[in-house]
Symmetry: C2
Subunit: 126 residues, 2 copies
DNA sequence: CCGAGGCATCGACAGGCGTCAATCTCCCAG
DNA sequence: CTGGGAGATTGACGCCTGTCGATGCCTCGG
Protein backbone atom coordinates (compact mmCIF):
# COMPACT_ATOMS: atom_id res chain seq x y z
CA UNK A 1 0.00 0.00 0.00
CA UNK A 2 2.75 2.37 -0.78
CA UNK A 3 1.88 3.29 -4.29
CA UNK A 4 1.19 6.93 -4.32
CA UNK A 5 4.38 8.20 -5.85
CA UNK A 6 2.75 10.60 -8.24
CA UNK A 7 0.06 11.33 -5.73
CA UNK A 8 2.65 12.44 -3.29
CA UNK A 9 0.83 15.70 -3.21
CA UNK A 10 -1.73 14.04 -1.00
CA UNK A 11 -0.32 16.07 1.83
CA UNK A 12 -1.03 19.29 0.04
CA UNK A 13 -4.05 18.48 -2.04
CA UNK A 14 -6.52 17.37 0.55
CA UNK A 15 -8.35 20.47 1.70
CA UNK A 16 -9.56 18.88 4.90
CA UNK A 17 -11.90 21.73 5.44
CA UNK A 18 -14.44 19.80 7.46
CA UNK A 19 -14.73 19.62 11.16
CA UNK A 20 -15.76 22.06 13.81
CA UNK A 21 -15.17 25.69 13.16
CA UNK A 22 -12.94 27.66 15.44
CA UNK A 23 -15.55 29.20 17.70
CA UNK A 24 -17.49 25.98 18.12
CA UNK A 25 -14.29 24.20 19.07
CA UNK A 26 -13.42 26.98 21.48
CA UNK A 27 -16.81 26.85 23.15
CA UNK A 28 -16.75 23.09 23.49
CA UNK A 29 -13.20 23.23 24.79
CA UNK A 30 -14.19 25.72 27.43
CA UNK A 31 -17.02 23.51 28.60
CA UNK A 32 -14.72 20.52 28.72
CA UNK A 33 -12.07 22.54 30.51
CA UNK A 34 -14.55 23.26 33.27
CA UNK A 35 -14.78 19.52 33.87
CA UNK A 36 -11.13 18.70 33.29
CA UNK A 37 -10.11 19.07 36.89
CA UNK A 38 -10.11 16.42 39.61
CA UNK A 39 -11.37 18.80 42.25
CA UNK A 40 -14.33 19.88 40.13
CA UNK A 41 -15.18 16.34 39.15
CA UNK A 42 -15.22 15.29 42.76
CA UNK A 43 -17.17 18.38 43.67
CA UNK A 44 -19.83 17.54 41.12
CA UNK A 45 -19.89 13.97 42.30
CA UNK A 46 -20.29 15.02 45.91
CA UNK A 47 -23.14 17.39 45.15
CA UNK A 48 -24.85 14.85 42.91
CA UNK A 49 -24.42 12.14 45.52
CA UNK A 50 -25.75 14.23 48.34
CA UNK A 51 -28.91 12.97 49.93
CA UNK A 52 -30.74 16.20 49.23
CA UNK A 53 -29.07 16.76 45.88
CA UNK A 54 -27.47 19.95 47.06
CA UNK A 55 -24.60 21.03 49.24
CA UNK A 56 -23.11 24.20 50.64
CA UNK A 57 -19.47 25.19 50.50
CA UNK A 58 -18.70 24.28 54.07
CA UNK A 59 -19.90 20.76 53.37
CA UNK A 60 -17.41 20.40 50.54
CA UNK A 61 -14.23 21.82 51.98
CA UNK A 62 -13.78 18.80 54.22
CA UNK A 63 -14.23 15.97 51.70
CA UNK A 64 -12.31 17.82 49.03
CA UNK A 65 -9.45 18.79 51.30
CA UNK A 66 -9.38 22.27 49.84
CA UNK A 67 -9.70 25.66 51.41
CA UNK A 68 -12.97 27.54 51.36
CA UNK A 69 -11.90 30.12 48.75
CA UNK A 70 -10.74 27.36 46.43
CA UNK A 71 -14.00 25.46 46.75
CA UNK A 72 -15.92 28.65 46.15
CA UNK A 73 -13.84 29.29 43.06
CA UNK A 74 -14.53 25.82 41.67
CA UNK A 75 -18.22 26.22 42.32
CA UNK A 76 -18.20 29.48 40.42
CA UNK A 77 -16.49 27.84 37.48
CA UNK A 78 -19.03 25.04 37.39
CA UNK A 79 -21.94 27.45 37.71
CA UNK A 80 -20.49 29.56 34.93
CA UNK A 81 -20.11 26.48 32.75
CA UNK A 82 -23.72 25.51 33.31
CA UNK A 83 -23.23 22.45 35.45
CA UNK A 84 -24.36 23.80 38.81
CA UNK A 85 -26.97 26.15 40.17
CA UNK A 86 -26.38 28.42 43.13
CA UNK A 87 -29.10 29.25 45.61
CA UNK A 88 -28.45 31.48 48.57
CA UNK A 89 -30.56 30.50 51.55
CA UNK A 90 -29.81 32.55 54.58
CA UNK A 91 -26.16 32.39 55.37
CA UNK A 92 -25.48 29.34 53.26
CA UNK A 93 -25.12 28.98 49.51
CA UNK A 94 -26.52 25.72 48.24
CA UNK A 95 -25.24 24.27 45.00
CA UNK A 96 -27.14 21.67 42.98
CA UNK A 97 -26.37 19.93 39.72
CA UNK A 98 -28.34 20.95 36.67
CA UNK A 99 -30.10 17.83 35.41
CA UNK A 100 -29.18 17.01 31.85
CA UNK A 101 -26.13 19.22 31.68
CA UNK A 102 -23.71 16.34 31.71
CA UNK A 103 -26.00 14.32 29.50
CA UNK A 104 -26.10 17.08 26.92
CA UNK A 105 -22.34 17.20 26.85
CA UNK A 106 -22.17 13.42 26.58
CA UNK A 107 -24.59 13.57 23.70
CA UNK A 108 -22.46 16.11 21.86
CA UNK A 109 -19.39 13.95 22.29
CA UNK A 110 -21.25 10.82 21.33
CA UNK A 111 -22.70 12.34 18.20
CA UNK A 112 -19.28 13.56 17.16
CA UNK A 113 -17.95 10.07 17.71
CA UNK A 114 -19.61 8.65 14.65
CA UNK A 115 -16.99 9.02 11.98
CA UNK A 116 -18.72 6.27 10.06
CA UNK A 117 -17.30 7.09 6.67
CA UNK A 118 -19.24 10.01 5.31
CA UNK A 119 -17.89 12.69 7.60
CA UNK A 120 -20.78 12.66 9.99
CA UNK A 121 -19.39 15.06 12.51
CA UNK A 122 -19.06 18.35 10.72
CA UNK A 123 -21.10 21.04 12.33
CA UNK A 124 -22.83 19.17 15.07
CA UNK A 125 -24.60 22.08 16.49
CA UNK A 126 -24.85 22.12 20.27
CA UNK B 1 0.29 18.04 52.10
CA UNK B 2 -2.85 16.08 52.55
CA UNK B 3 -4.41 17.73 55.47
CA UNK B 4 -6.40 15.85 57.93
CA UNK B 5 -9.99 16.92 58.18
CA UNK B 6 -10.36 18.40 61.56
CA UNK B 7 -13.99 17.50 61.43
CA UNK B 8 -15.30 20.95 61.83
CA UNK B 9 -18.79 19.59 61.40
CA UNK B 10 -20.07 22.91 60.35
CA UNK B 11 -23.51 23.12 58.88
CA UNK B 12 -24.57 19.73 57.70
CA UNK B 13 -24.60 16.39 59.30
CA UNK B 14 -24.17 14.47 56.09
CA UNK B 15 -20.58 13.29 55.76
CA UNK B 16 -20.76 13.51 51.98
CA UNK B 17 -18.37 10.66 51.53
CA UNK B 18 -19.70 9.53 48.17
CA UNK B 19 -18.49 10.45 44.76
CA UNK B 20 -15.47 9.53 42.77
CA UNK B 21 -12.30 8.80 44.60
CA UNK B 22 -9.25 10.90 44.01
CA UNK B 23 -7.46 8.73 41.50
CA UNK B 24 -10.57 8.08 39.43
CA UNK B 25 -11.27 11.77 39.31
CA UNK B 26 -7.68 12.46 38.35
CA UNK B 27 -7.75 9.90 35.56
CA UNK B 28 -11.03 11.19 34.16
CA UNK B 29 -9.79 14.75 34.43
CA UNK B 30 -6.69 13.90 32.48
CA UNK B 31 -8.75 12.34 29.71
CA UNK B 32 -11.02 15.35 29.59
CA UNK B 33 -8.04 17.68 29.63
CA UNK B 34 -6.77 16.02 26.49
CA UNK B 35 -9.97 17.11 24.77
CA UNK B 36 -10.30 20.51 26.43
CA UNK B 37 -8.39 22.38 23.76
CA UNK B 38 -9.79 23.96 20.60
CA UNK B 39 -6.83 22.87 18.52
CA UNK B 40 -7.16 19.23 19.57
CA UNK B 41 -10.91 19.23 19.06
CA UNK B 42 -10.48 20.56 15.57
CA UNK B 43 -7.66 18.14 14.94
CA UNK B 44 -9.87 15.22 15.93
CA UNK B 45 -12.65 16.58 13.82
CA UNK B 46 -10.39 16.97 10.81
CA UNK B 47 -9.05 13.45 11.08
CA UNK B 48 -12.51 12.00 11.62
CA UNK B 49 -13.89 13.96 8.72
CA UNK B 50 -11.15 12.97 6.36
CA UNK B 51 -12.24 10.95 3.37
CA UNK B 52 -9.90 8.10 4.25
CA UNK B 53 -10.38 8.49 7.97
CA UNK B 54 -6.77 9.31 8.51
CA UNK B 55 -4.43 12.22 8.02
CA UNK B 56 -0.75 13.03 8.32
CA UNK B 57 0.73 16.00 10.12
CA UNK B 58 1.41 18.00 7.00
CA UNK B 59 -2.29 17.76 6.13
CA UNK B 60 -3.23 19.32 9.44
CA UNK B 61 -0.84 22.21 9.81
CA UNK B 62 -2.64 24.16 7.12
CA UNK B 63 -6.25 23.88 8.30
CA UNK B 64 -5.27 24.29 11.93
CA UNK B 65 -3.02 27.24 11.32
CA UNK B 66 -0.40 25.86 13.65
CA UNK B 67 3.24 25.02 13.18
CA UNK B 68 4.36 21.48 12.55
CA UNK B 69 5.85 20.91 16.03
CA UNK B 70 2.66 22.10 17.65
CA UNK B 71 0.50 19.78 15.57
CA UNK B 72 2.84 16.92 16.32
CA UNK B 73 2.59 17.72 20.01
CA UNK B 74 -1.21 17.72 19.93
CA UNK B 75 -1.22 14.44 18.05
CA UNK B 76 0.99 12.93 20.69
CA UNK B 77 -1.33 14.11 23.45
CA UNK B 78 -4.35 12.62 21.71
CA UNK B 79 -2.55 9.35 21.03
CA UNK B 80 -1.47 9.20 24.65
CA UNK B 81 -5.02 9.84 25.80
CA UNK B 82 -6.32 7.01 23.64
CA UNK B 83 -8.18 9.02 21.05
CA UNK B 84 -5.87 8.57 18.07
CA UNK B 85 -3.68 5.89 16.58
CA UNK B 86 -0.39 6.61 14.89
CA UNK B 87 0.84 4.62 11.93
CA UNK B 88 4.11 5.43 10.25
CA UNK B 89 4.00 4.65 6.54
CA UNK B 90 7.15 5.60 4.80
CA UNK B 91 7.97 9.19 5.47
CA UNK B 92 4.51 10.11 6.65
CA UNK B 93 2.79 9.44 9.95
CA UNK B 94 -0.89 8.78 9.55
CA UNK B 95 -3.23 9.42 12.44
CA UNK B 96 -6.70 7.89 12.73
CA UNK B 97 -9.39 8.17 15.35
CA UNK B 98 -9.98 5.17 17.57
CA UNK B 99 -13.61 4.17 17.05
CA UNK B 100 -15.55 4.21 20.26
CA UNK B 101 -13.09 6.25 22.25
CA UNK B 102 -15.26 9.32 22.29
CA UNK B 103 -18.34 7.21 22.74
CA UNK B 104 -16.85 5.53 25.78
CA UNK B 105 -16.09 8.88 27.33
CA UNK B 106 -19.58 10.09 26.49
CA UNK B 107 -21.00 7.00 28.13
CA UNK B 108 -19.02 7.65 31.30
CA UNK B 109 -20.27 11.20 31.46
CA UNK B 110 -23.79 10.16 30.62
CA UNK B 111 -23.90 7.46 33.24
CA UNK B 112 -22.67 9.88 35.84
CA UNK B 113 -25.32 12.31 34.74
CA UNK B 114 -28.25 10.20 35.80
CA UNK B 115 -28.92 11.21 39.35
CA UNK B 116 -32.37 9.82 38.73
CA UNK B 117 -33.78 11.08 41.96
CA UNK B 118 -31.51 10.35 44.81
CA UNK B 119 -27.91 9.46 44.68
CA UNK B 120 -26.91 7.77 41.54
CA UNK B 121 -23.59 7.21 39.98
CA UNK B 122 -20.53 5.82 41.56
CA UNK B 123 -20.78 3.83 44.70
CA UNK B 124 -23.71 3.07 46.86
CA UNK B 125 -26.46 2.17 44.55
CA UNK B 126 -29.26 0.91 46.69
C1' DC C 1 -27.54 47.25 67.80
C1' DC C 2 -23.71 44.34 67.78
C1' DG C 3 -21.10 40.09 67.39
C1' DA C 4 -20.48 35.83 64.76
C1' DG C 5 -20.22 33.00 60.97
C1' DG C 6 -20.59 31.59 56.00
C1' DC C 7 -19.26 32.91 51.49
C1' DA C 8 -17.32 35.76 47.69
C1' DT C 9 -13.52 38.52 46.21
C1' DC C 10 -8.65 40.20 45.93
C1' DG C 11 -3.78 39.71 45.60
C1' DA C 12 -0.04 36.72 45.10
C1' DC C 13 2.50 32.64 44.03
C1' DA C 14 3.70 28.24 41.75
C1' DG C 15 2.93 24.98 38.32
C1' DG C 16 1.19 23.47 33.96
C1' DC C 17 0.22 24.13 29.17
C1' DG C 18 0.17 25.91 24.37
C1' DT C 19 3.10 27.79 21.05
C1' DC C 20 7.09 28.46 18.16
C1' DA C 21 12.11 28.38 16.32
C1' DA C 22 15.86 25.45 15.94
C1' DT C 23 17.61 20.99 15.66
C1' DC C 24 17.79 15.97 15.19
C1' DT C 25 16.43 11.44 13.31
C1' DC C 26 14.73 8.52 9.98
C1' DC C 27 13.25 7.04 5.51
C1' DC C 28 12.95 7.30 0.57
C1' DA C 29 14.58 8.86 -4.18
C1' DG C 30 18.29 9.38 -7.32
C1' DC D 1 26.15 6.99 -1.03
C1' DT D 2 24.16 11.33 -0.81
C1' DG D 3 20.42 14.77 -0.76
C1' DG D 4 15.92 15.99 0.62
C1' DG D 5 11.78 15.95 3.09
C1' DA D 6 8.52 14.57 6.95
C1' DG D 7 8.01 14.21 11.62
C1' DA D 8 9.60 14.07 16.56
C1' DT D 9 12.25 16.32 20.14
C1' DT D 10 14.31 20.15 22.74
C1' DG D 11 14.47 24.62 24.83
C1' DA D 12 12.38 28.85 25.77
C1' DC D 13 8.68 32.10 26.44
C1' DG D 14 4.20 33.71 27.84
C1' DC D 15 -0.36 32.90 29.28
C1' DC D 16 -3.66 30.54 31.96
C1' DT D 17 -5.05 28.31 36.09
C1' DG D 18 -5.22 26.07 40.69
C1' DT D 19 -4.22 27.19 45.28
C1' DC D 20 -4.01 29.76 49.53
C1' DG D 21 -4.08 33.76 53.02
C1' DA D 22 -6.32 37.98 54.00
C1' DT D 23 -10.21 40.71 53.70
C1' DG D 24 -14.91 42.49 52.79
C1' DC D 25 -19.95 41.67 52.48
C1' DC D 26 -24.08 39.93 54.05
C1' DT D 27 -27.23 37.51 56.96
C1' DC D 28 -28.70 35.66 61.34
C1' DG D 29 -28.90 35.26 66.47
C1' DG D 30 -28.92 37.45 70.80
Amino acid sequence: MLDQPTDVAACASAPLAGGLDVDAATALAQTLKALADPARLRLLSLVAGSSTGEACVCDLTGPLGLSQPTVSHHCKVLVDAGFLTREKRGVWAYYAVIPGALHTLADVLGSAAVPADGRAASTARA
